[in-house]
Symmetry: C2
Subunit: 206 residues, 2 copies
């Protein structure tokens, strides 16, 4: 369908600044909707249903799986996490660009199922910079930082499977780059099928 | 290689405004180089070797074919026309984005040989608008216009093979859209192979 929004799937190392980038996009521009995950884990203090997550019982979640109502899902530490289709596709249909932050395995699952999804990987300019940022937060134990870095090393092996790499060296520039990239994707041929058919049809008279 | 330029292959109906768009890009921004074709046809008055075309003898051109020095080539009304590799790839290597205007068959040949090429099709918003523009020029006979429209009808069948469709309804907007699109393509993963390898390597210490 023409004038559909773009499904932008965003991954990156913990500490790469994904959250900041996405918040900035949502603040600066009106065309974005942030995909909200469903989960069976209990709400934490201050979390609101439909804002941080859609909170579901195990039974409800398994019904969603059964009815193919999820873009993807996974289990993590005994709880389900997944992306409800309804929210994503109703927003895309309304012309909104949907931002979906998700780890690599989930992102690749989405790409397989929805090849029109645009996979964006956010990385700091170097591994050293990632370590500095994580250490600089001063909020985590050396063990936690080591665990994050070791996970990043694992994740780096799949960077090649993404469509685009955004280097987050300067947040403001990176936000605008991500915005320009997602907007440019509106010109993809598959987004203009109706126009192409219309032109082909009209041209039959020539 | 990282920081390579983008090879932007631009096609579109005669009368879609490709020439105007490309001239505007070259005037407004420093990062573009316009690919120049080689041909065996004789120079017309005012044409300069290396500006409109690289003018070649038949023998020289056939040597270029033999030595695989052309991105693509074709014969048209008894003359060869082709795109010299040297100029395109030395500019890409220097980080310039190369604009290559070419008809559809040539564009598809290039995509097959160089999948990293970005194929952009420029179209007016409707077939009626194309007819109005061609008639509005007032420089061509009804027969010539009919021939152009009939060719456009033929060409419209292959619009789907392009990566991007740009609707040229307002030149200024379309120039900026094409620029933003080509710039966004710099973030493609294949353009960041060196960075990815560097990060993977550095992360082995974690």
């Amino acid at each position: 369908m023409d004038n559909q929004g773009v499904l932008a799937v965003i991954s990156g190392f913990s500490g790469a600044g994904k959250g900041t980038l996405m918040r900035a996009l949502l603040e600066r521009y009106d065309n974005y909707a942030l995909s909200i995950s469903a989960t069976t884990r209990a709400p934490r203090e201050g979390e609101v249903d439909g804002r941080e997550y859609f909170f579901k019982t195990r039974e409800e979640f398994e019904q969603m799986i059964e009815h193919d109502e999820l873009v993807e899902y996974a289990q993590y530490v005994g709880n389900y996490y997944g992306t409800p289709k309804e929210y994503v596709f109703s927003n895309l249909k309304a012309g909104k660009d949907v931002l979906l932050e998700i780890e690599i395995q989930g992102a690749l699952k989405i790409k397989k199922k929805f090849p029109e999804a645009v996979l964006i990987f956010v990385t700091p300019p170097s591994a050293g910079e990632l370590r500095n940022r994580l250490a600089g937060r001063g909020t985590e134990t050396p063990e936690k930082i080591a665990a994050r870095l070791s996970r990043a090393a694992e994740e780096s092996k799949q960077m090649d499977d993404y469509d685009f790499i955004l280097v987050n060296d300067e947040v403001d520039r990176c936000v605008e780059e991500m915005h320009a990239l997602i907007q440019a994707m509106h010109a993809r041929t598959e987004n203009h099928k109706t126009l192409i058919e219309k032109i082909k049809e009209e041209m039959k008279q020539f």
